[in-house]
Amino acid sequence: MTAPRDKFGRPVVVVTGMGIMTSLGAGKADNWAKLVAGESGIRTITRFPVDGLKTTMAGTVDFVSVDPFSSTGLSERMAEIVTQEALEQAGIGAKADFPGPLFLAVAPVEVEWPQRRELGRAVGSPDFTYDDLLRISGGGKYSAYHHRFMFGSVAAYLAETFGTKGSPISLSTACASGATSIQLGVEAIRRGETDAALCVATDGTVNPEALVRFSLLSALSTQNDPPQAASRPFSKNRDGFVMAEGAGALVLESYEAATARGAKILGVIAGCGELTDSFHRTRSSPDGKPIIGCMNKTLADAGMTPDQIDHINAHGTATPENDKMEFNTTSAVFGELAQKIPVTSNKSMVGHTISAAGAVEAIFSLLTLEHQRIPPTINYETPDPTILFDVVGNKARDARVTAVMSNSFGFGGQNASLILTREPA
């Protein structure tokens, strides 16, 4: 029997439902099978013309239809599907009656090019100013676009569809958003405000402007051919991340509430930590102190020591700077263990799902714990000699895994880490 409270006297937070979607496919079974087989979901973009772009591939989710199409619409639809999957597994509450709050990690929302072009065409003359666009926007013809492009629209839709309680929170901490959504859920349960929380993260923003924005910051891989080989975490010839779409949903519950209703426990969120880096808008502090502090805070929050972590699900974006920084900071925290703990980057296969990544990778970490098998980091042909991680290269590895650290670092100095375990400590 495990105590319902952790060593700090807080309710233990467990996972009782998970749903996932990536460029590899829909659902846990399909994703896991392809992930451990080392399959890549990265392909040449077909959703829009790629002429004139430096990067022409991405991990798009093309098997979900949204009409009329928008990135926010795709984010919403993916979030709905993964939430459905998570709720079916958890068997919690009743239909459209989830007994807790929603924390949603979602990409920032704005009017998109298809809608902007529709306005441009509606002006009806070849010479116009922005004022002309503004003047024809009213009158009710485009009222659906107002609702679609509210920042809170995805959360409002999910809250109404699944009957979550209270005010749903839409959040962004850039590439750490998914981890932050889980952290908010953990904190709400630990405070005793709720017995359950729905944590969802989604990102469907592979569109021309998003690709151009990251491209102009020189953040993306340009190794377009073959697209499956573009994402090369920890390799010497890595040259940037690959944009990708996906979503993840987790049902969190207090251990006490989950066991009381006889729910199957899929894993434990043993620790969460975050720490801001105030060095630069896109670069980490050269001394790595904020990331080191983030990992240490997470270990402390879990009441664990580095030797108790037996796998690291790395942020591993495959940008030259991130992977090097991640090794250096991990070494500072874990010492020599940093070269012995198996490390993998799911982004080698599914790409960087940006706002969703923290949740997607937490779910892959929990599946790793369940299957006692670590998915590979593919495209690991030429290891970077300065990154001395024990990278699970190219082939999945069976291993005894009891505790995983999952890291997420983002623009704006956002750092967040999670520790996931099979059983309550």
């Binding site: 809170g152 850039a174 405000e193 801001t276």
Partner: protein, 401 residues
């Protein structure tokens, strides 16, 4: 159950710093003076027929000393970073590395301004026949400023505040229009109340001088046009006038504040929020009533500061709710400051705390009778924030006893 209310034995949370940069001015005295004089800064011409409340110009250098930092931001981030600096100054913790290295930040943000010349250039070229498959890609690749993206990202308001003011604790950005401001206060209060955090910086900023935002709200016919009127006098001429403002607050546990000798403006006793379905008339008013009932008991001299937008049907629903509590004098921040979206709720808390600390509610500015005079010093002010489309929040700000 996602509410935050003081429970017996739970930590008391003080408001120890307020930073305001608004259409009425910079700092607490300038804003208070304008409120006393019922002075509204409204621009009916610059964006005609749309009405807006422009930022009273500030010298950004005083809070954002590096020009390089200012260049990396668009207006909404500069306003917010500026106001955040004022809040840290007000709390007496500006430059205090010990405290700033652990302060928790919860920011309510929308997104940044677009480059209207780029957008218009693409659309007019397409209207003239540019239809090569890669046309949009090529124009965006060559015309977008590389750093513009960082000025647009929602979480980069918090990022810039961290960089400019040296904040090194935690940083979370909430989105979702008006109620994001209430949720930011709600989560920060819950974390301090439960001992997860000692001190937090919360708030938001908004640049209303943006035609791209006006397009978004024009889709729903939400923009106030032609002529300014107080929020309560817009029933047959509905809409909101966007406003520019930054509003930040330092929230702190009583023990943390007392240990460093900080004085409170007021205490933040409770923040509650919900999402009314708003399918039927009365849904939103019912949710406001439910939130009102969840606030701790009001026994003192009370008032209400609301962020009612002027948009319909939300404003009429809210007016119905307010009529049921007519013993509470009402003030509308929308009339005085315009609608600052994510920032309106933190602005409401700021004005509630300021009114309590100055021993008077600011005067009414309304011809419809919704706002009435108040005699004496308020000791409890309820801040109300009902979104123009979705989301309802409420907070109770009280005098420290």
């Amino acid at each position: 159950m996602t509410d935050t209310a003081s429970k017996p034995g739970q930590t008391e949370v003080w408001i120890t710093g307020i930073g305001l940069a608004t259409s009425l001015g910079e700092g607490l005295d300038a804003n208070w003076a304008a409120l006393q004089e019922k002075r509204i800064n409204v621009d009916e011409k610059g964006f005609a027929p749309y009405i807006m409340h422009p930022l009273m110009p500030v010298t950004f250098d005083t809070q954002i000393p590096k020009k390089g930092d200012q260049r990396q931001m668009e207006a909404w981030q500069r306003i917010g970073t500026y106001a955040a600096g004022l809040a840290l100054d007000s709390a007496g913790i500006k430059g205090n590395k010990d405290i700033l290295s652990k302060i928790d930040m919860v920011v309510a943000a929308g997104g940044g301004e677009r480059d209207l010349n780029v957008d218009t250039g693409v659309l007019t070229a397409e209207a003239k026949g540019a239809n090569a498959p890669g046309f949009l890609n090529e124009r965006l690749m060559s015309d977008l400023r590389p750093t513009l993206f960082l000025a647009q990202l929602s979480n980069l308001l918090a990022g810039n505040i961290a960089i400019v003011h040296g904040l090194g604790g935690t940083s979370r950005t909430f989105m979702g229009e008006e109620v994001a401001g209430a949720d930011a206060a709600r989560i920060a209060l819950a974390r301090i109340g439960s001992g997860e955090s000692d001190i937090a910086l919360i708030g938001g900023s908004h640049n209303g001088e943006r035609k791209d935002l006006m397009v978004l709200y024009e889709f729903g016919d939400f923009n106030l046009k032609d002529k300014f009127a107080p929020v309560w006098a817009r029933k047959d001429h509905a809409g909101f006038a966007l406003g520019s403002a930054g509003a930040f607050l330092v929230l702190e546990s009583r023990a943390h504040a007392e240990a460093r000798g900080a004085k409170p403006f007021a205490k933040l006793s409770s923040v509650v929020a919900d999402l009314a379905r708003r399918k039927q008339p009365g849904d939103m008013a019912a949710t406001l009533e439910k939130l009102w009932a969840k606030l701790p008991k009001r026994e003192g001299k009370g008032a209400i500061i609301t962020g009612a937008t002027g948009a319909e049907p939300a404003t009429s629903e809210e007016r119905g709710f307010l009529k049921g509590h007519a013993d509470f004098p009402v003030r509308s921040t929308g009339t005085m400051f315009g609608h600052t979206m994510e920032t309106q709720f933190p602005l409401g808390i700021a004005l509630a705390a300021l009114s309590i600390s100055r021993g008077a509610l600011f005067p009414p500015n309304d011809s419809t009778g919704t706002e009435i005079e108040m005699q004496g010093a308020p000791t409890q002010i309820v801040v109300v924030g009902a979104g123009h489309w979705r989301g309802e929040g409420m907070a109770l700000v009280e005098a420290v006893s």
